[in-house]
Symmetry: C2
Subunit: 247 residues, 2 copies
């Protein structure tokens, strides 16, 4: 067909009221709401392919997805068209045309996530949806030392939850930075790919380091053990934000 275009969307969303990205029965998801908005415009059912399944309550500042559509409308206009049809917790930041072979998931070269911890005695109300409260004092210097052991290509078997469907648990972490600003601690992590719950388990492990439960140089052994029980717990989804998808 002559006018088939492959459109990539960059999406910001507040995941508070959604059961993650992926369509499912009896739960509202980002993918479903986006496909419904597209249906209102196109009057046909169009599949939208997402770069990753994000979990319930997880947010995104730069989610990427794509779809094929037969249209003469300039691609950059899709951003405005869809924003008018979407609820206020989902915003399209960009719509751009890609080669027909582009696929948000299969073409993906990597992603950056940011996990936000509030390290305070007391919960907050304003912005509580976007961070995880941890009330024991964290030693950020120790966490930064531990962070260096994650960087590089490793088998992250110890840092995944059961349920992902992948061929290998080897991933290349290219960046793991920890920023502190007042009570807020932000863990910024980039990799060529992430296993199921990997960012949240790495964060839970860094928290164990921050309270002195794990020594920074033990991280090496924990990675090598490939033993999930030796890593920290999986922290809540609401502190997690998919910051950018790389192509």
């Amino acid at each position: 067909v002559e006018n088939v275009k492959n459109i990539k969307l960059i999406v910001e969303y507040d995941g508070t009221n959604y059961s993650g990205w992926q369509k499912q029965k009896n739960a509202i998801t980002i993918q479903q709401v986006l496909e419904e908005a597209l249906f209102k415009f196109a009057h046909e059912k169009i599949d939208i392919f997402g770069a990753s399944r994000t979990d319930s309550g997880v947010h995104a500042r730069g989610y990427a997805c794509n779809f094929l559509i037969n249209t003469k409308i300039p691609v950059e206009r899709f951003r405005y068209i869809l924003n008018n049809l979407l609820p206020d917790d989902i915003v399209i930041l960009k719509s751009e045309e890609m080669p027909l072979e582009f696929h948000a998931r299969y073409s993906c070269k990597g992603k950056r996530y940011i996990y936000t911890i509030i390290n305070a005695k007391q919960r907050i109300s304003i912005g509580r949806q976007y961070s995880y409260l941890f009330n024991r004092k964290l030693n950020v210097d120790l966490m930064r030392k531990a962070a260096t052991y994650f960087i590089g290509t490793h088998d992250f078997e110890a840092f995944r939850s059961i349920g992902g469907n992948v061929k290998t648990s080897v991933r290349a972490v290219s960046e793991l930075k920890i920023e502190q600003e007042g009570n807020f601690i932000r863990i910024i992590i980039s990799a060529d790919g992430f296993l199921y719950n990997m960012v949240r388990i790495i964060t839970g492990t860094l928290i164990d380091v921050g309270v002195g439960r794990i020594k920074p140089d033990e991280i090496k052994n924990i990675i090598e053990s490939k033993n999930r029980k030796r890593a920290g717990k999986c922290v809540p989804g609401k502190g997690l934000c998919l910051d950018e998808v790389f192509y």
Copy 2:
């Protein structure tokens, strides 16, 4: 009665899901939820006196209120007791004992409010509850010039909505600063008191200055005119936050 204590609370709240501070029929308010939490603990109906009526959707980082209670429990513990009984969008930051004559409203010497504008073409999803989107480019230098005319003691009749019940419309504005950080513009205003919707109408007027509809030095005339129609519009409540109450 021997153990009557006057307890002042400092409260942070996300006003998104509330019809402001003041109790009313057929709507949920902060005062009502706080009094219900106190009732669960004290098993008696206790009135809580607030420093101000905030409107629907308005937030607070440092709201102040007080109540009288016959108790032997250390006053600083009320913070923890109430936080355990409150929903996650209301947090007590501090509970402290005050002299019996203290009253959150009548003892108040002034307040500081912060109004947050996002000056961008596009709406945001994450944090949308705490700011007002204005999509025409604002000239912050002009707004800062205009801001200087508000400082001092003036009759702010032109900057109030109908409905407040006050003896005089003269107020002393001690601070009016405008901060810019990326797309965010924050208007920080302190005064000995505020008329109904005064911060929101001053903000609307500063926006008119920022787009060139009003010249900075016209502010003087608008104040002197005491004519509501010459000031700007009342911007939405969700961008407003009561930052601190002074005693």
